[in-house]
């Protein structure tokens, strides 16, 4: 984005200054952050510098693609409230989850503290600069997500409704962003220092689960399905659920009632009030918050000694064998085992995914509309674990340990692929496998011993997907990359591709299982063969120190 922040942030000047921030400084800081985003190299294509604007365009296109599913789901419905409610609830979930998983790090980034804090910039200015930088990206994402719905609404219900939907989407994004920030900053008033980051991490996981569950429940509780048509009847109780306010604003042109008008007023006023309140009250002293967080980064275990433990438990040894760690790789596997358990940013990313892994698919399995045998449905549910395993390679890169590559480069007889694949294996062993075992245990109840064939197949499929993604992604070293603002959209696309890949394999698995319970082992053998080839042959050949150096350079 080569725009000057002062030009497109001008409409917010009054609100920003009203809270005590210096608008000009806010614009300069936003410009600086956008410039830094622009300067980020795209390490694909052998380290060639690509235009990051293309990344944002690509990312937006992905969200347009994701957003297309929404109007398709309700293509038969003629209820604008239902369509907009679903879109707004979806938008809210996406914005909150994206904010928490990808942009909260940007809000509390302490790396430039030494440069910014000594400058005469007050907390409100710093807070606004951070939030507006994030808001720019979230608005682009939101617009991309709702674009297909806007087109459908425009065609079905007229331009006025489409315009109202557009405005409501912007307000929804602003509201959700500020609500999330309110939770974060409110929390900071209660706790501080080293504990803060841990508390934030667990609150974040809790929020993600709450939002996903809430999303499912809200839709189930308020939608009426009379067989012939699916519709919603907005009443006063709808005012208790935030997405309904924005749906009411969207339907303001169509439905004329006091409830709709009240909801529409709330939809306009609340985001503005949230901005002023947060800007005035919670951004006050934001610079001190950043200093505290910075202290939290480094005060880690200050004064607290940790006994040198050479990890060699049964679980460690079992996993090293299961995941094919060779004897010469054991020291790296051991180091990575420790690191995956300690790196906060990594845990902050992986734990919500594990929560999704359990919570999200349960709705499909135990849905009242679901059909088919429970054991088959449960198998489908277990296949959803691939959404988490497919994310492990990319979240492994997240961390603040920049340019640790040199440590490995100076060691004799070590290949860069060894570091990357063992980090993945350690993360798999410490996070994925325990949850996977918990999840597949009921299969024994449904199918008996023969479930072993299913479990082995699904597990090897997961492992195969993770290794394959690791093979194709740029060789970022573990825990070395900031959660780049330009990476967001790839996550969604990858998940979609994985689902597309998993579907036929799942069907093939079910088909083989139907013939004979042990037949899925044929699939296991294929996965095993391919993943051994990738892990031991192709991957070491692909990743040279030169490539690793190019991708990981400071």
């Amino acid at each position: 984005m080569n725009l000057k922040a002062s030009s497109f942030l001008r409409p917010l000047k009054y609100v920003v200054e009203k809270t005590g921030a210096n608008f000009l400084q806010v614009c300069h800081l936003v410009d600086l952050r956008l410039l830094l985003d622009n300067r980020k190299l795209n390490p694909n294509s052998s380290g060639k510098n690509k235009d990051p604007n293309n990344t944002l365009v690509r990312q937006s296109l992905m969200f347009v693609l994701v957003g297309t599913f929404l109007p398709l789901m309700f293509s038969k419905s003629n209820d604008l409230f239902l369509i907009s409610f679903s879109t707004h609830i979806y938008l809210m979930v996406m914005v909150a989850v994206t904010m928490m998983s990808e942009y909260s790090v940007s809000l509390f980034d302490t790396r430039d503290n030494n440069l910014i804090i000594p400058l005469p910039v007050n907390g409100q200015t710093l807070g606004w600069a951070r939030v507006l930088h994030i808001m720019i990206y979230l608005l682009v994402i939101s617009f991309s997500l709702v674009l297909p719905s806007l087109v459908i609404i425009g065609i079905k219900f007229g331009i006025a409704s489409a315009l109202l939907m557009f405005a409501a989407s912007l307000l929804n994004t602003v509201f959700t962003l500020f609500f999330t920030i309110f939770l974060y900053l409110g929390l900071m008033k209660l706790t501080s220092g080293d504990k803060l980051k841990d508390v934030m991490m667990y609150i974040q996981i809790g929020l993600v689960i709450f939002i996903v569950v809430g999303y499912q429940l809200a839709q189930r509780s308020f939608v009426t399905n009379n067989g012939a048509e699916v519709f919603m009847s907005p009443s006063w109780r709808f005012l208790l659920i935030p997405p309904a306010w924005f749906s009411m604003l969207t339907t303001l042109w169509q439905i004329h009632s006091t409830v709709i008008l009240t909801g529409a007023v709330i939809a306009v006023v609340l985001p503005l009030l949230a901005m002023v309140f947060i800007g005035k009250k919670l951004f006050y002293g934001f610079e001190n918050t950043l200093v505290k967080l910075s202290a939290g980064d480094t005060s880690n275990a200050k004064g607290k000694s940790e006994k040198l433990q050479r990890e060699n438990t049964f679980w460690f040894r079992f996993n090293s064998i299961l995941l094919g760690v060779s004897k010469s790789e054991l020291p790296i596997f051991r180091l990575m085992w420790k690191l995956v358990g300690r790196e906060r940013l990594f845990k902050q990313s992986i734990l919500p995914m594990l929560a999704y892994m359990i919570v999200f698919p349960l709705f499909l399995v135990f849905s009242k509309n679901a059909t088919g045998d429970i054991s088959e449905r449960y198998l489908t549910f277990v296949y959803f674990t691939v959404m988490t395993s497919s994310m492990i390679p990319s979240v492994l890169c997240i961390g603040s340990n920049v340019y640790t590559l040199w440590i490995y480069q100076t060691l004799p007889n070590l290949k860069p692929s060894s570091v990357l694949s063992n980090a993945m294996k350690a993360a798999f062993a410490r996070f994925f496998i325990p949850v996977f075992i918990l999840m597949v245990a009921p299969l024994f109840y449904f199918k008996g011993v023969v479930a072993l064939a299913d479990i082995a197949t699904v597990f090897l499929f997961n492992y195969f997907v993770a290794i394959a993604i690791l093979y194709f992604q740029p060789p970022y070293f573990p825990f070395s990359q900031s959660r780049a603002t330009s990476q967001g959209g790839k996550t969604v696309l990858r998940m979609m591709l994985i689902v597309i890949l998993a579907l036929p394999l799942g069907f093939l698995h079910a088909y083989l299982s139907g013939k004979n319970g042990w037949f899925p082992l044929v699939l296991s053998a294929i996965f095993l063969l391919v993943l051994i080839l990738i892990d031991k042959k192709w991957f070491p050949r692909k990743i040279s120190w030169k490539l690793a150096e190019d991708v990981n350079k400071l």
Binding site: N49, D297, T298, S299, N300, A301, K302, G303, K304, S305, E306, K307, L308, R310, L330, P331, I332, R334, L335, K338, L339, R342, E343, R344, S400, N401, V402, Y403, T404, W406, I407, Q409, T410, L411, P412, N413, L414, F479, W545, K546, E549
Partner: protein, 260 residues
């Protein structure tokens, strides 16, 4: 002790491309270092010191010319070179969530050292550098100087034949500077080669038995301190300024800058 050079560099060139622009960092370095020598590798910022060290240690593999360390070509036998050298980088990029002992344990295992022996050595060095009390605390809580000490110890764990140090004393307190100087001198007395770059001219002047000055990617001076200063009575700092073309008086410009 063999008189064969332990480091042999022939016509070393390195350039970086930035779009259409080519920045030639090293323009043909020729160098031979004998065992037991302490080399002070000095030069202004951006002269190419760190790049030379990184190439010799196998951290940069695209360059022109030949580099041999301990008789092994760094391109053909990087593993053999890495077995024999220790490297202390300029920036202490370490995993913040591990403790020094955990880090040393990893390095020792990767180098195939007998673990207990290596860790005993680590303890002794930690004690020498006065950070033994922090041996089991996470590196994230360390100051810059403490991290630097961890780097120094990790490079010494396998008792390397050749030690490469890129600004090894930056951030160290006065006592630790003395200790590191003593370690350097002792290692050289045992026939080990020390090759270090530094901006601390007084240390270079006192410790090195050969000083190599690099400027704009070429060697502009090479010899003992007394050879370099000739009959004059210049300090190394003055000599450095003169040879790098910075021996003009800046008093006026400084005063102008502040007045404006």
């Amino acid at each position: 002790m063999s008189n064969q050079p332990v480091i042999r560099i022939e016509n070393l060139k390195k350039s970086y491309k930035n779009g259409t622009e080519v920045n030639e960092v090293l323009k043909g370095i020729n160098l031979e270092v004998s065992p037991g020598q302490i080399i002070g590798y000095i030069g202004p910022n951006g002269a190419g010191k760190s790049t030379t060290l990184k190439i010799i240690c196998g951290l940069i593999d695209s360059f022109k010319g030949n580099v041999e360390v301990a008789g092994f070509d760094i391109r053909k036998d990087p593993t053999e070179v890495k077995r024999r050298i220790g490297y202390i980088p300029e920036l202490a990029n370490l995993y913040e969530s591990v403790t020094p002992m955990e880090y040393f344990s990893f390095i020792s295992e990767m180098r195939g050292l007998e673990l207990q022996h290596a860790l005993d050595r680590a303890h002794k060095l930690l004690s020498l550098l006065e950070i033994e009390a922090n041996a089991n605390q996470r590196i994230g809580s360390f100051s810059k100087g403490m991290k630097q000490k961890v780097l120094i110890i990790s490079a010494l764990l396998h008792n390397p034949d050749i030690l490469f140090m890129d600004e090894p004393l930056s951030g160290l307190d006065a006592n630790s500077v003395i200790t590191v100087k003593e370690i350097i001198t002792k290692m050289a007395a045992e026939g080990k080669t020390i090759f270090y770059s530094s901006h601390l001219m007084d240390v270079v002047e006192k410790v090195s038995d050969r000083i190599i000055l690099i400027n704009h990617g070429i060697i502009v001076a090479d010899g003992t301190f007394s050879e370099l200063k000739g009959t004059g009575n210049e300090s190394l700092e003055k000599l450095f300024a003169r040879l790098t073309g910075n021996d003009v008086d800046h008093t006026f410009e400084i005063s102008e800058a502040f007045n404006n």
